[in-house]
Symmetry: C2
């Protein structure tokens, strides 16, 4: 029986496990045995494979475990392991770094003439993969962020004389996640100012923007990306994550909300609170977007369908006839369109038209002991 290996890579998302289930259900139809590799590529090298079932579909994070591992010269080792286990299909769920890994494996197999179809499955809360309309994982994170902003808005309104509240959102190089705060504006509970990494951050303009709004309203709600950069293109380095740099050399950011809080306190003497939405942005399964969950499932299904059709070295998309090669996607970043950013601190309605379908619908989680019932390995 032919074996399909599937792995998860990069950061967790609320819906990444739905892609695993999509792969499993479609593979079954073609009489292919599915095994998951524990901790991505690392699980291949360790021959650490497990079976899984449909029960994980609504569990966030990464059921198989993930890895941030950059291949150097392990291709021959992988080939031998695949031959040994009769692996004819390999699906790797991840972002642009994972696409690069999958692409290299696909190219190696082609070069040595080993018949194994390699398909990437898109996943990233950052929504920064090129070529594809949107990435599974983004919709649920956006739904969590916009809901949190709406609720923080209500919280910050309760006192007559309020404060400046600065909320920090993930997204190292692209502002998609930060922009999602704008959804709350549709319910009249949105932020006053939004700062994305695509536009260089001018501290003194920021202070004067905050001052102006505070004078009018006695409260200001600011949403800012962890990845904002100064006019030289450098990150504001105030990392709150110690010893955390990964194998790809990505610096883990965080701490911008605190830094800007200190700035406002020093420059304007106003009451101010910094809030970092932090890890819950990527694992809040309890407020998963139904559309996002369904999209994640669908790219899992389509990955198997592409492989069965004979494709290798491609990224699964929502429509089978819209092909995207891994080559085109690997290591590239799709930034938030500059034309959707107004005056450096506002987001246009065009973005809302884009994002609203992605946050639509709720997944009804099962609860146990008053909290969602999730699965673990």
């Amino acid at each position: 029986m032919d074996v399909l290996l599937v792995g998860q890579s990069g950061g967790p998302t609320a819906v990444i496990n739905a892609s695993l289930v999509g792969v499993l259900n479609e593979a079954k139809k073609h009489n292919i045995k599915v095994l998951g590799c524990v901790n991505g590529i690392k699980g291949i090298l360790d021959e650490n494979f497990v079976e899984y079932d449909e029960s994980i579909i609504n569990t966030p994070a990464a059921y198989l475990g993930s890895v941030r591992y950059k291949l150097t010269d392990e291709y021959d080792q992988i080939l031998n392991i695949f031959k040994k286990h009769n692996v004819k299909y390999f699906m790797y769920i991840g972002g642009n770094d994972s696409c690069d890994t999958s692409n290299k494996i696909a190219n190696y197999f082609k070069k040595v003439g080993y018949d194994c179809k390699v398909i990437g499955i898109p996943k990233t809360i950052d929504n920064d993969l090129v070529k594809i309309d949107h990435c599974p994982g983004y919709g649920s994170s956006a739904k969590f962020i916009a809901t949190s902003i709406e609720e923080i808005y209500l919280d910050t309104q309760v006192y007559e004389k309020g404060r400046v509240t600065i909320v920090e959102v993930m997204g190292r190089d692209a502002g998609w996640l930060t922009a999602s705060a704008k959804i709350a504006s549709l319910n009249n509970m949105g932020p006053d100012l939004i700062y994305l990494p695509e536009v260089s951050f001018d501290s003194s303009k920021f202070v004067s923007d905050v001052k102006k709004i505070y004078e009018q309203k006695q409260k200001v709600l600011v949403v800012v990306s962890e990845g904002i950069k100064d006019e030289t293109g450098s990150y504001f380095l105030l990392s709150r994550n110690f010893n955390n740099n990964d194998d790809f050399g990505h610096l883990q950011l965080g701490g911008i909300a605190l830094m800007l809080s200190e700035l406002i306190s020093n420059k304007l003497g106003l009451p101010v609170r910094g809030i970092e939405l932090n890890l819950p942005q990527r694992c809040a399964g309890h407020i998963m977007s139904l559309k996002d969950r369904n999209d994640a499932y669908k790219v899992g299904v389509n990955a198997v369908k592409l492989a069965i059709k004979g494709y290798t070295g491609y990224l699964a998309n929502y429509k089978l006839n819209e092909l995207i090669s891994l080559e085109e996607v690997a290591t590239k970043v799709k930034q938030f369109p500059l034309s959707w950013i107004i005056d450096g601190n506002q987001i246009s309605d065009e973005y809302l038209n884009y994002v609203l379908p992605l946050v639509k619908g709720e997944v009804k989680q099962k609860f146990e002991n008053g909290i969602p019932k999730y699965m673990k390995r």
Copy 2:
């Protein structure tokens, strides 16, 4: 027509508005007109009154706005305003400071012989009111915290070699909120270590506890109260909230997670991340506990029933025949029982028996634009 004035005080909760609706619905039955004072006591002094309706029942925060205002000599002014508007009932929703305020007003009215029934309505995420079994607001915060811990647990499990994750939870003087992280253990996704303010925090013991667990599991999940104190009883002062001290002189805390992250990084050189759950703990209406919402509604109803029976100077309870005077509750703090804390860093099953009923059930929110539909003034 007799008028009932109702106000909200202190910090927001997810369910405080359900108490407003309970008051309204019960008052209607007795042909009493209900008006809400905007921003608590401040709204009385400003004669800033509004009507409201049932539509706010599932909206978090405080629909009428809140205040942290300590009365000095405004009693006569309040009396005249009450007489002017024919106010015969006053209900104040809040914690122990608000009970103190209500008690003083009740006593003043008794002293001058003005017939107005004053009833306090319990509310605090901190769950620290004495005499009452549990406080409306706590169950929803506990549900949010335990859900977040469960999801953070899953997130922190994805990498083979993980990190130390330190989650900071609200609760200045009582550990009830922090303890709620323990609920996630029932689903096998709980924290390794929990630190409450009731037990003095020993930094070197903490470092060695973390070291031991990391050596076993390569990852550690710590939950810590913002209000932990050293052996002299002093807070660890690393406030991330600037210029925020309130009228009651309470220092606003925050920053413990960051401080302890730096400690672990310095002492053990381990990868570590600090997470502050922050404001969403008290306003996450999207994961409201149904039991908590119903409790908040019920104390609103019972407040009116007590007043109709002729009581004044009491706190509304779940059962009408279990009377609690405001005098007994004002400014007092109910701490987490020491007997439920094991070895200074674990929580006993007795607590779980206490808390599970409080987090039970989910409120089905209406959604609009992919996020909950809430009401504002």
